[in-house]
Subunit: 253 residues, 2 copies
């Protein structure tokens, strides 16, 4: 029998997780430089808003899928906050509703965006793959896959600054989603990170958790690749949103 491989120390393992973000998080994707640098056309911004909505809309379903597998009331209770953050407690509240404010600000009909018509198939496959991952893999892998939120505050701060500076549509109401996530995400991720560090107590579990976080960076990166191919390079696939569709009727609005 080969001797058991010792796990990394808590500090080394956390550093390994953070290195995954440094290397692979989607803030390194060229679409983000383009968006934050003010180089996106209005239609590129709209395509991003439409496709990213699909991701947002599936996050509470992903969180519910996670809770459906958790038999510890305390862990469910801690996790339930994520659904509350996204869905709110009243109509018009919560992260999904705030994303639809951004949709409106960029000239899209929020009702159109909420249908998810026109979302790229590449976006759907990646996002649905993430929901399925959380439904099917171990709880440790499910929690670890949420740890991209470790890297989110910086991207949200960059985004607020870049969008405000470069785009006429950007104001506090339009960007309320990102501002809110600046305060929500750190709570979530502190809990998730501690949970992963506590539960990844063998080398094999550490590998599984790191692979899950890597998988999640793929989920995010793939969405931007799909967006880039369709709307920056202009190879819009059949069935996907085309500029001019789903616009807000400004006269009626």
């Amino acid at each position: 029998m080969t001797p058991a491989r010792p796990p990394q120390s808590r500090e080394d393992f956390e550093a390994r997780l953070r290195a995954i973000g440094a290397e692979r998080y989607h803030d390194r994707h060229p679409f983000h430089a383009r968006l934050h640098g003010g180089d996106c056309t209005p239609d590129e911004v709209r395509a991003w808003v439409i496709n990213r909505y699909y991701y947002q809309s599936r996050i509470p379903m992903k969180d519910a899928a996670f809770m459906s597998r958790v038999d510890d009331p305390a862990l469910r209770r801690a996790w339930r906050k994520r659904m509350e953050d996204h869905d709110g407690s009243e109509a018009g509240e919560g992260g999904i509703a705030r994303w639809l404010k951004l949709a409106r600000a960029v000239g899209l009909d929020p009702d159109y965006v909420a249908t998810s018509d026109g979302v790229l198939a590449g976006t759907r496959f990646a996002v649905d793959g993430y929901v399925r991952f959380v439904r099917e893999m171990s709880l440790l892998e499910a929690v670890a896959s949420s740890l991209t939120e470790l890297f989110a505050p910086k991207i949200h701060a960059d985004r607020i600054e870049g969008l405000l500076k470069h785009y006429a549509f950007a104001d506090d109401a339009a960007l309320s989603y990102f501002r809110k996530r600046l305060t929500e995400a750190p709570d979530d991720v502190a809990f998730g990170l501690a949970w992963v560090l506590d539960h990844a107590d063998t080398a094999e579990r550490q590998d599984a958790a790191a692979a899950a976080l890597t998988f999640k960076t793929d989920v995010l990166w793939t969405q931007l690749d799909a967006l880039w191919g369709a709307y920056v390079e202009g190879r819009i696939p059949p069935g996907a949103w085309r500029p001019g569709e789903g616009l807000l009727d400004r006269a009626a609005a």
Copy 2:
């Protein structure tokens, strides 16, 4: 082509659902007469508390499984209340914690009960079958299966009255689970019933919803059959709780 079968009117369909409860709800099971009539031994009450805990503990997982399939934030928001009711917002709150108070009142160690060790395999199969049903069947069938709550207020009221009258352990703290459900369940079921009546808009869908509610009555009835065989008739299966196990250390408590 045979002509389409017309759906029942809303009123007739609601009456059909209510008739399922009148015929099949577990208030008609002999164990309930025995429990409410004061004829259960302390160990029979304990066995009921242990096994019913397993059902309670899986209800929030079932509700999360439902929400994981709902893409409408408004429906998720309405449904989330059920998880809040069962899990509470702090440790020691919520329906599951209240059930553990009952466990303590009947002389069981709540930590033992919370492990779900000693739960009858028959209970597990029925309860796990219910969670799987909600995870896999249509949303309409999932909501319809929750409508046994239409029939719950009467059983809770009977239970409070019967237990208070006949058992020394029964006091307000011990029975807080049932009192709380008297106010929670009617809100839930009014929402669920309206949703089912709105969405069961063809004869086929009405049949599916009625079958789902029938299935759920089977889930509840089967648990009491398992309890009866094991603890009233005394055929305790291997691995199941045996009188004397999991008792509260009264000196330490």
